[in-house]
Point group: C2
Chain length 512, copies 2
């Protein structure tokens, strides 16, 4: 058994059966081994930023790692931006990066350089495999690391000679450790805070935002009147009619401060204390009032759902309010942001997965979908734009029976539009909506905060991504996906319906 | 004067007057300063891989640095792959990367993380500016570093508070140091080798491959019968009718070994000793015969053109052979790779700039253009694919009066297709040819070296980038560029002519 075969068989033995990849020359031995073994589902991307975000989306929905197979330094580097987002999402992931043969490295050939240095900031576990006989064990350790805590990124660098040499084997390896629970005194303390009568919020993250974790959180809120919050950069939130209401902390500093000003206690469950995305001259980055006590019940590495279960067990049972909320009515007429939001709210299929990178165009969509049938909401966790379309790819691969609705700003979408091709190749059930405002609108808003008037010609030219306008319908068609441009809310509703009914990928461009 | 203003005014004072950029929120103060000052030419890219390769192409042709303005960690990370190529091209470049305000960093907000760690491998000079009063001096040192030796990458990280605070100034700074010359004993030694009667080649790089450097190299070759060689990963080579013939070292290991086997002496001028791109089991990575003496006349940091001038001065004058070579005849009929190469050879405009990432489809094009009118040839220096289209952007910005012919493989082109939009926006005179073989053909060839038969279904699915076929005409149109698909050599010739005559960007898809 070669090192490459040992690696792949160990991945399969560890439950890692899906590989997002863009292999290069140094990974050919790995591809040959994948070919021989044949049991790994391989999903290609035409750019590595697609590969890493797809592995992130897969992990968020499958709750287990996919692996990536990436081409040494530069190929990996192309995947960093979305790996940055994945790291902030606390997902499990195993990256396999090819490397030159060990004896070839001294020649400093063109593709050599810097893999470990650039991989380290994004990898909780990082190793270069030192021989075919170690490849299986290294892979097993990578899987265990990836599945530890709430989920981590593990990166294994595999020199070509480790891949091609004989002597590999698949080691036995223990099941991954359960995520650690916060101690009982921590749960007691949180319970006491919740019963103190002070206005309290619980800021949830990780697996406290969906499934059993969210159920327990709903019980805690019903029993105590505490407000449930999610961070603005959220990984996965289950929501919709009948589910506990969780409010997302606002993106804009002033709005977030206002939202949080009533609270005197904030309990963190897997989340960091809320701070502004960016600093501004003379403004404080902290979003909570000075008199708000912040208590960390669980850090992101701990079992957030378990923490909420333990907390709920200490509190009296309470009936959650029966809600029979109505969806928004289907609006008609000219395109407006609120009209688009209501249309999505009116038509969102049950059990959909919404991937949201709609940026400034989509601020009303969460409110409009609050009463839609239950669905999962995946966000941009690290602020690096260009996550939506490939994240949707991974979510759709993990959940082939669910509708994925991918909401993307046009500027963000241009970062990883190659993902559309993977959607087409894999026949994924994804309806992509492009909000085409032809601008980096978020930069215009940031400029307005400077209080120096309107942007001049040069600044405008950098904020504006028209001239020429991007034609997303042609881009989609060029990548193998049917696309349509809509000019009214009625057309948008029809295009959404057609997308959901098509059973495959479609794209809707909404000029704003 | 704010730190941002000091930075920009120092760049302008140092002759850096072109900025390739994709700014983000943390760079808004810098954009505002650019706006106020108004003297910097700013060329936007919709993705940072476009930005860094454009700065590389600009530097190769302008022989001075452009600056880039990039968005903290992830934005910079998107530019790494082409920065890797630029580092290998030994070009001057000044990267300016925004960073969170200094006091904001402790909050570990979503976009934080790892800039220095990922910037270091690609930056010969790296610094984080510590205050507005230091911004001008830091920038001056960055420019000096970038212009030192043959050209280096300098990276300056600028926290937002350094940008927005008052107290900046533009320092006086000395002209950059001249690149160091090899000592006279080194030149003497090379001269003695060339006069020894042993079969000798000179492997040239840097500025020995164009302009005065190439002229001197031609004189040395004419006087001694030495063969002039260029590395396969070449930065810039001036070539064509009447210019000294320089042969590129072959990419394929066996071919390169055969090409070099006759030589008993190899003189390196700015180049590394030739080695295989990749290692193979049981094969030596070294390309020169064991009995070949390798002598380094100049390293890449030294003045390669000056070294050739000094060498030529020691050798007797000799007339270079008068060549009156004929261009290839314009072929007709069905599309073949040799027919495409001859068509380019027959039609290439005088003083064109050819950017070549045609990969396996373009192996015959250098031979077919050897007798075309003089032109510059820019290659992929680091092996990270996705350089051609943005490199062409930078070359066209540096040389607006010249025709740029961009030859791109389809798989490579998909990495940075966003560059087409910048071509459209800036109205650049670039004719892009896409060789659409719908495969990572280089990987198929590498697989064939494994001697394990044909790729199976899984490997084939990773080497094949059809299903669905990319439609480059629609992609070009979607990005604002007229595109045409050709199905015969006649149509290809017409499309090339139309491209050259249009005065703006066009794209030609050649299905293979």
């Amino acid at each position: 058994m070669t090192g490459a075969e040992a690696l792949i068989r160990t991945l399969l033995a560890g439950g890692v059966d899906t590989c997002f990849t863009n292999p290069g020359t140094s990974e050919v031995h790995m591809v040959a081994a994948l070919d021989r073994i044949g049991e790994m589902r391989c999903v290609p991307g035409l750019f590595e930023g697609v590969v890493t975000a797809a592995a992130d989306g897969y992990a968020r929905m499958a709750e287990k790692p996919a692996c990536t197979l990436l081409h040494l330094g530069p190929g990996f580097a192309n995947g960093i931006a979305n790996l940055h987002n994945a790291r902030r999402a606390h997902v499990p992931m195993v990256n396999v990066i090819g490397q030159h043969a060990t004896h070839h490295l001294r020649h400093d050939t063109p593709l050599s350089g810097g893999i470990e240095s650039i991989a380290r900031p994004y990898s909780r576990w990082l190793r270069t495999s030192r021989g075919a006989s170690m490849a299986g064990r290294d892979t097993a350790e990578a899987i265990t690391a990836a599945r530890s805590a709430s989920g981590q990124i593990a990166t294994l660098i595999v020199p070509a000679d480790v891949s091609w040499s004989e002597g590999g084997s698949v080691p036995p390896f223990p099941p991954p450790p359960e995520a650690e629970m916060p101690g009982p005194e921590m749960v007691q303390r949180a319970s006491a805070m919740l019963c103190s009568g002070l206005r309290t919020a619980i800021l949830l993250a990780g697996n406290a935002l969906y499934g059993k974790g969210l159920e327990h959180a709903g019980r805690v809120a019903a029993a105590t009147g505490a407000k449930l919050l999610a961070p603005y950069p959220l990984s996965r939130l289950q929501r919709g009619a009948g589910l506990p209401a969780v409010e997302r902390v606002h993106y804009i500093l002033e709005q977030a401060k206002q939202q949080l000003e009533e609270f005197r206690q904030l309990i963190l469950v897997g989340a960091q204390a809320p701070v502004a995305y960016f600093a501004y001259p003379g403004k404080d980055s902290t979003l909570t009032p000075a008199e708000c006590e912040i208590f960390t019940l669980a850090i992101s590495d701990q079992d957030c759902a378990g923490a909420m279960e333990a907390l709920a067990a200490l509190l009296p049972g309470a009936r959650q309010p029966e809600e029979t909320p109505a969806r928004p009515a289907l609006p008609e007429g000219a395109i407006t942001l609120s009209g688009l939001a209501s249309t999505i709210g009116a038509l969102l299929p049950e059990n959909a997965i919404v991937v949201d990178e709609s940026m400034t165009s989509g601020r009303g969509i969460m409110a409009a979908t609050q009463t839609a049938p239950p669905h999962d909401w995946l966000g941009n966790t690290g602020g690096s734009i260009g996550i939506a379309m490939p994240l949707a790819v991974g979510a759709a691969v993990a959940c082939p029976d669910r509708h994925v609705v991918c909401l993307s700003a046009d500027g963000s979408g241009m970062y990883t539009l190659q993902a559309l091709w993977t959607m087409a190749r894999e026949g994924l059930r994804i309806t992509t909506v492009i909000f085409a405002n032809r601008a980096y609108a978020v930069l215009k808003r940031e400029f307005s905060y400077l209080n120096i008037g309107s942007p001049g010609q040069l600044a405008s030219s950098l904020f504006d991504i028209g001239r020429p306008d991007l034609d997303w319908v042609r881009l989609a068609q060029g990548l193998g996906i049917p696309g349509t441009k809509v000019t009214s809310l009625d057309e948008f509703a029809n295009a959404l319906r057609n997308g959901f009914e098509s059973g495959g990928p479609t794209l809707i461009e909404v000029p704003l």
